[in-house]
């Protein structure tokens, strides 16, 4: 990233603004949870807010926005494998959670 003393001075205000946004979004997460909305809605809202907070931390505190695209590609590859890791096991219990593995039923012991 650009890191001369003058450039860094101009970044300080951004850091404080991101700090404020993170605290407000934490409050939003707790407030929504206290409203006891449906579990589906709660998951969507909580993960959406957490994703915004994570993006703010990565982009501003970790200066990801100012790095070359190479590091982005490495992280994108990592995110892709993370999703595979998350989804593959869920497919194996698809029968229990939504009938995704219906053809497997005939293979289960009687």
């Amino acid at each position: 990233m650009g890191s001369s003393a003058h450039e860094i001075q101009s970044h300080l205000k951004k850091y404080y603004m991101v700090f404020g946004a993170l605290l407000v979004l934490t409050g939003v997460t707790v407030a929504v949870a206290e409203m006891h909305v449906s579990i589906g809605m709660a998951i969507v809202i909580a993960l959406f807010v957490a994703s915004i907070k994570g993006t703010l931390v990565a982009c501003y505190f970790m200066h990801l926005m100012e790095e070359r695209s190479m590091i982005m590609w490495i992280l994108a590859l990592c995110a892709f494998f993370f999703l595979l890791l998350l989804l593959f096991p869920v497919f194996t219990v698809g029968e229990q959670i939504g009938g995704l593995a219906e053809p497997m039923r005939g293979l289960s012991p009687q």
Binding site: S3, A5, I8, Q9, H11, L12, Y15, Y16, V18, F19, L22, L23, T26, T29, V30, A33, I39, A42, I43, A46, L47, V49, A50, K53, G54, V57, A58, F61, M62, E67, R68, M70, I71, I74, L75, C78, A79, F81, F82, L85, L86, P89, V90, T92, V93, Q96, I97
Partner: protein, 290 residues
């Protein structure tokens, strides 16, 4: 014999656009994503496969973690970590502006906030290890206290009625051989059939208990996940504190001879620290609020 010079330890590498240490930290963080990702995936798999009424603990009214976890303490810890991320980036910014003293102060504040996180976590863990779930062989009723019941459905489709109480073990009575004969048990107000003003301790003979366990890692599948994931995160916090203390103490000598390199090392420490914050940002809602 000439010393080996590590290339690009201050100036950016032409290919990556960053000095080698920073690139190394990014690759390390990529592996860390997969580490926490594996645990997160395990958590999701166990949760969607949990029999009804057993998540986060047998007999819970909802499936949310806050049935048995303290949201207020976790929110406080979230604030501590977010603030520590700001002080960490300010430590680096001040060093880049050649303000060593302020940079060190910010690094010290980061260490203090990280330590505060661990202190709060200690109180959270401690409360779990002193809270118990008792499962009875059959219906229990004594001195006005009655066991709760819930019906568990097994994966095979059969059902089983469980009689249980949640609360605190006040004391135990042992026989001459040192084997526990009975427990002085104070049920939780919401589980002990009565409001907080009237609920009282009851003696439970050990012979009537099928299982007694605290809210530790063996308490339930959810608690096992909770302790493994937050424990691993806690170890990362401790690791970060050790590194920061090194740079506050003997490591800071580098500032006098190579200030740029020292600032870069703080930047690498910061990248790691922001990642630890980022993991908590996701853990907080997933474990405590959903």
């Amino acid at each position: 014999m000439s010393a080996t010079v590590i290339p690009y330890d201050v100036k950016p590498h032409p290919l990556t656009g960053m000095y080698n240490g920073k690139f190394g930290i990014w690759l390390f963080l990529a592996s860390e994503i997969m580490l926490f990702g594996a645990l997160f995936s395990t958590y999701v798999l166990l949760r969607v496969g949990a029999p009804e009424g057993t998540w986060p603990i047998a007999g819970a009214a909802t499936t949310r973690g806050d049935e048995i976890l303290n949201v207020a303490l976790a929110a406080l810890n979230t604030a501590f970590l977010i603030t520590s991320s700001v002080t960490m980036v300010l430590a680096w910014a001040n060093l880049k502006m050649m303000n060593f003293k302020k940079g060190q102060t910010m690094l010290l504040v980061t260490v203090l906030l990280a330590s505060a996180f661990l202190v709060v976590k200690y109180f959270e863990y401690n409360a779990k290890f002193h809270h118990y779930a008792v499962t009875f062989n059959e219906h229990f009723e004594h001195e006005g206290v009655e066991s709760n019941t819930f019906t568990a459905t097994t994966p095979a489709g059969t059902t089983k009625t469980i009689h249980y109480l949640h609360g605190h073990v006040e004391s135990t009575k042992k026989n001459a051989e040192g084997v526990i004969e009975s427990y002085e048990f104070l049920p939780d107000a919401e589980h002990g059939h009565g409001d907080a003003a009237t609920h009282k301790a009851v003696e439970i003979p050990a012979s009537e208990i099928a299982r007694i366990t605290n809210y530790g890692p063996g308490g339930s599948t959810f608690l096992g996940c909770y302790f493994v994931i937050t424990g691993l995160h806690g170890l990362h916090i401790i690791g970060g504190i050790v590194v920061m203390l090194y740079f506050l103490a003997t490591g800071s000598k580098m500032w006098k001879t190579q200030p740029d390199k020292y600032a870069n090392r703080i930047e690498c420490t910061g990248l790691y620290w922001h990642f630890v914050d980022l993991v908590w940002i996701f853990l907080f809602p997933v474990l405590y609020l959903l």
